[in-house]
């Protein structure tokens, strides 16, 4: 047993930290809030050159073949620097399901291009019902000729407007259970009939409403087997959940670091506010929330990587905890900053607003608490 990083992970973490500190400064984060695309193509290419897009893609497909815990370590730094753009969507929501279920041809077509930074992807799963479960997938895909025709709406799809391809979860049949009859389709984002409308969100990230109007998708673009897409979604959701936790760990850590520093420097009543016990106790609570988040996330990432039987339970435990803990962390962060925390100009609010986004992504605390309860009963 060892809860620490190995040498290679230490290197990855330190390198990513230094790289992002330089390449993804606060100004860029702010600029991307206003930017239509929401990411910086230059930075995207530089990250690809580090091998990050291909981190978990096997070497034979142009990746570096590293592990899920390595990805978690990297994403923690992404959370720390609030790296804007479609990294998680591309790597986790696009690349990973192809790794899991793609045909040899699909793997060859997509994975090397993801690894090289040429291809941006996402998954279109949730709909106006805003549900993460299989019965939330109602987008209709009708078999027609040599393919499918899509009609319907997806909502809260991350970065869809800048993607080249989307993994779209669609209903091709009404099965006995909601899980049956869902087909994953690799949809060219430029297909006629696909429309994107970015939503205006608290985090100023780029989630989209995507509408499909008679969008034709060839049969060859089915990912896995027709009607049997849901298990692939489930596995992808698992990694996406862990990825969201890793991002929240980094975000929480940075919010805490900034706040701790502020508590040491801000003087009121002739002494640093960090010398008041009211503030000290808050910060002590925060450090438990941050450390706790980190280790439960590492455990979830490791369980998934090792194929442990309780990997799903761990992922849900991690997300239930991280969702709540990170909210407590950033709330204290705001409070300890006083008035300056409420200004747009000062950095702490960037963390506060994004926390809410990741808290909600891939299921909030309640959603995962319910899953934990279900898993415990089994």
């Amino acid at each position: 047993m060892d809860l620490g990083l190995d040498e290679q992970q230490e290197m990855l973490k330190n390198f990513a930290h230094d790289f992002l500190e330089k390449e993804c400064p606060e100004e860029l984060v702010r600029k991307m809030e206003e930017d239509d695309k929401g990411y910086e193509p230059d930075l995207w290419q530089k990250m690809a050159a580090q091998g990050w897009m291909g981190l978990i893609i096997p070497e034979e497909y142009g990746g570096t073949g590293m592990r899920i815990t390595d990805l978690a370590v990297l994403l923690e730094e992404f959370g720390r620097f609030l790296v804007p753009g479609p990294f998680i969507p591309t790597v986790v929501l696009g690349g990973y399901p192809i790794m899991l279920a793609g045909s040899e041809e699909q793997k060859k077509q997509f994975l090397p291009k993801i690894a090289s930074g040429e291809l941006i992807m996402t998954m279109a799963l949730t709909e106006p019902s805003a549900k993460w479960d299989a019965d939330g997938v109602q987008l209709e895909a009708k078999a027609e000729g040599d393919g499918f025709v899509l009609n319907g709406t997806k909502l809260f799809v991350q970065d869809a407007h800048v993607t080249d391809y989307m993994v779209v979860a669609a209903r091709t049949a009404k099965g006995k259970t909601p899980e049956e009859g869902i087909t994953l389709l690799l949809v060219d984002s430029k297909s006629p009939g696909v429309k994107f409308e970015p939503l205006r969100t608290i985090a100023a990230d780029k989630q989209c409403e995507v509408t499909f109007e008679n969008v034709k998708v060839p049969k060859a673009n089915v990912l896995g087997e027709a009607g049997k897409g849901w298990p692939i979604v489930e596995k992808t959701k698992l990694l996406a959940t862990v990825a969201a936790c890793a991002y929240l760990v980094g975000l929480s850590q940075q919010d805490f670091d900034i706040t701790l520093n502020y508590a040491k420097e801000r003087v009121q009543f002739g002494r640093p506010i960090g010398s008041f016990q009211a503030i000290q106790h808050k910060l002590a609570d925060v450090v438990i929330d941050v450390d706790g988040s980190r280790f439960i996330t590492y455990k979830a990432a490791w369980s998934l990587q090792e194929g442990e039987p309780d990997a799903e339970l761990m992922a849900s435990m991690a997300k239930a905890w991280c969702s709540d803990a990170s909210r407590r962390v950033v709330a204290h962060g705001q409070q300890i900053h006083g008035g300056i925390g409420f200004t747009k100009e000062y950095k702490i609010q960037l963390y506060f607003r994004r926390q809410k986004w990741m808290e909600l992504m891939w299921g909030d605390a309640d959603y995962h608490r319910e899953l934990v309860a279900q898993k415990l009963e089994v």
Partner: protein, 390 residues
């Protein structure tokens, strides 16, 4: 003990309600605290003034109706429940006017009070400075006596509404040698005086609500001094007490809760509506309980006042609890809305007009403004419970 309002108080509530129904647009949803609200708020204040309802709690001689404490509470509750745009005039009505009534000269009362009750003059509060927030008494803005004037130099920060205000209540140091509480004076400052620069600060909600205000050799006549020189701190404490006991906010929370309940009843989920979800039910039940408790803590303050007792730490308990409760409520509401909760008001897909997203951000400021939660807890512990200073 009696938890019922007197018949005449109930009648007053009905009267206020009926008036609001008539004088707010039928689809009125309140302002989401953005700039566009100012014009409407001014017009609304003038309408209120026709009934002497801008500051109905003030004595009749100063343009109010001399309402009882309970009727004042009812007025606050109805305004807050109906989302009347009173935030913009609160500083004048809620805490400047009452301070002037206590400490002002006859001339100052004549000069200032009528403008407030007419809904014409807007006030801002120049207390906080970059290095004097919780520790307000360490403020550094200087006022130096020069003939019949004082000359002001320095800087204020977080000054809400300074960009619209006609007047400012200003705290400045008149004796740099005295102990910090004993060298502060309280001024009534005309915002049109030369030498004042108002610089906007944009808040997390992307609104221009507060400002930095700079003073460069701003001259104020001696007659603008409120009370005695160097006695400003004690009057400021009065002002802050008024600010912290401006209660009735729980009624706004009640309205939000009702909105959420309606949403839950209408939103389909698993063949039924969200109302069938046990977690949602408990969340709303908890929220309802917390709102009721918030009302009781406010009512307790009024109950004391109605018996002629000056509340002590009780105002702080109401301020502390109600602001923190509203932050929790905003969070609970976001949880109920799920992914939709993160959408801003301008989103076509936003639910409940994006009000929860706005509230979630706004309430983080309310647990800071008017004295932070920590400062309220210190007051409760020291002034209320008699614990020694930490």
């Amino acid at each position: 003990m009696d938890f019922r309002f007197a018949p005449e108080d109930e009648a007053f509530r009905r009267e206020v309600r009926a008036w609001l129904k008539k004088n707010l647009p039928s689809d009125w949803e309140g302002h989401l605290r953005d700039e566009s609200g100012w014009g409407f708020a001014r017009g609304f204040a003038r309408k209120l003034s026709e009934r002497r309802w801008v500051a109905p709690q003030w004595p009749v001689e100063y343009g109010g109706l001399g309402l009882s404490h309970w009727q004042q509470l009812i007025y606050n509750e109805e305004m807050s429940y109906h989302r009347a745009p009173l935030g913009y005039i609160a500083i004048g009505v809620g805490w400047t006017g009452p301070t002037i009534i206590i400490y002002g000269t006859e001339e100052q009362k004549r000069q200032h009070l009528a403008g407030i009750t007419a809904g014409e003059t807007m006030w801002c509060q120049g207390f906080s400075e970059p290095n004097a927030g919780s520790d307000l008494a360490s403020l550094q803005t200087r006022a130096v006596r020069d003939g019949d004037d004082y000359v002001i130099n320095g800087q204020k920060i977080w000054t809400s509404g300074a960009h619209h205000a006609d007047w400012m209540i200003l705290l400045a140091r008149t004796d740099a040698e005295a102990p910090k509480h004993k060298g502060i004076s309280y001024f009534l400052l005309d915002m049109k005086s030369p030498g004042i620069t108002v610089q906007p600060l944009i808040d997390v909600m992307d609104n221009h609500s507060f400002n930095q205000v700079f003073f460069e050799n701003v001259r104020v006549p001696k007659s603008s001094l409120l009370g005695e020189e160097n006695r400003g701190w004690y009057m400021a404490t009065t002002t802050l007490d008024f600010e912290r006991s401006s209660i009735g906010g729980a009624a706004g929370a009640l309205r939000l809760l009702e909105d959420l309940a309606a949403y839950v009843n209408e939103t389909p989920r698993n063949g039924g509506t969200l109302v069938g979800d046990q977690r949602v039910r408990w969340r709303l039940a908890d929220a309802a309980l917390e709102v009721e408790l918030g009302r009781m803590l406010s009512y307790r303050v009024v109950s004391l006042q109605a018996r002629g007792v000056v509340p002590n730490y009780e105002s702080s308990t109401a301020k502390l609890y109600n602001t923190e409760m509203q932050l929790r409520l905003a969070h609970a509401g976001l949880e109920v809305l799920g992914l939709y909760g993160q959408l801003k008001p301008k989103s076509r897909r936003a639910q409940l007009r994006g009000r929860l997203e706005r509230q979630y951000l706004w309430q983080t400021a309310m647990v800071v403004g008017g004295g932070t939660s920590e400062i309220q807890r210190n007051i409760i512990a020291m002034r209320g419970l008699g614990l020694p200073r930490g």
